[in-house]
Amino acid sequence: MIGFGDFAELNAMFTLQDLRMLFTFMGAVAVAGALFYTFTKDRPKGPPIHRGIVPGAVLFGTGWAISGGCPSIPIVQLGTGYLPALMTMAGIATGMRAYRKLNARYFHFDTGACSI
């Protein structure tokens, strides 16, 4: 079995003991890149880089390593029957609400008004 929903597998990838899932991920990115390049014409540059990208990514990486949530994974874990994943989901909701308030009051990062 392979999957981001399995914490043992996730930790084995992050501690570089088992690179299967990393290769799966990179394979997915390569397949996607080829498909996008073949089937779509627009080449978007993506959102701007602002000062919040690196600290945000550090916070996310830490949270991912601790809870295994990236943030669809707690939903998958809940669907597999792991009830404590509800707590991770509550944490994600709390964190997002807190970030919107913090950003409006202190950071003023351009979060990208047109993200989905």
Binding site: W64, G79, T88
Partner: protein, 198 residues
């Protein structure tokens, strides 16, 4: 590998249908802020339902502020230029669609777990989690703290492992390459600490 290709087709079709980057954290964000989203959608509807009324109200406000000299003719720009510079309309998915995405992830995981016989109601996160991270009463608060970090971090960085890691990296967007290498590197460091030190 099947799952990997499946996810890729998801992303591709999502992009072709919606014209937007696929990202789970954005879906989360919008469902979490459902109240604000609903108000925004309502006001959008009001504006698109009666654009002339809206324009008239704006014009009236402008004239009461600056006086009505020019009779409104000077305010309007030449029609040709206005048409050319208008950006294409934003396709913004309704909030309900994002909620459905999250619910279908849940249903899909449930179905897959049923089919391969791994579905089991559990009050913990499995033996690996207990070994590596935490066991016992600290489990729930630890997961909550981890979730808060994920929530703040994904929004501050503007994406998660699907938005930046897959959609962004596969299109070689600079911001996604930066974000992915940073959050992956951090996760490697923290996981190694958890496994070998703590």
């Amino acid at each position: 590998m099947g799952r990997c290709i499946g996810t890729r087709f998801d992303h591709l079709f999502y992009h072709l249908l919606v014209g937007r980057r696929f990202g789970v954290s954005s879906a989360w964000e919008r469902v979490v802020h459902w109240k604000v989203e609903r108000e925004t959608e309502r006001s959008d509807q009001t504006l698109t339902a009666a654009p002339d009324d809206f324009q008239a109200a704006l014009m009236a406000a402008t004239q009461s502020q600056f006086g009505a000299s020019g009779g409104g003719v000077a305010v309007s720009s030449p029609p040709d230029q206005a048409v050319e510079s208008t950006p294409p309309p934003q396709t913004r998915l309704p909030m309900t669609a994002n909620a459905i995405l999250l619910v279908t992830i849940l249903l899909g995981a449930f179905g897959a777990a049923l089919i391969n016989g791994r579905f089991k109601i559990a009050g913990d996160m499995g033996p690996a989690f207990a070994d590596i991270v935490v066991d016992g009463p600290l489990l729930w608060p630890t997961l909550f703290v981890g979730g808060v970090l994920v929530g703040i971090g994904t929004r501050m960085a503007g994406g998660c492992s699907s938005g930046h890691g897959m959609s962004g990296c596969s299109r070689l967007q600079p911001v996604s390459l930066v974000a992915t290498s940073v959050f992956f590197g951090t996760a490697v460091a923290v996981s190694s600490l958890l496994l070998w030190v703590i």
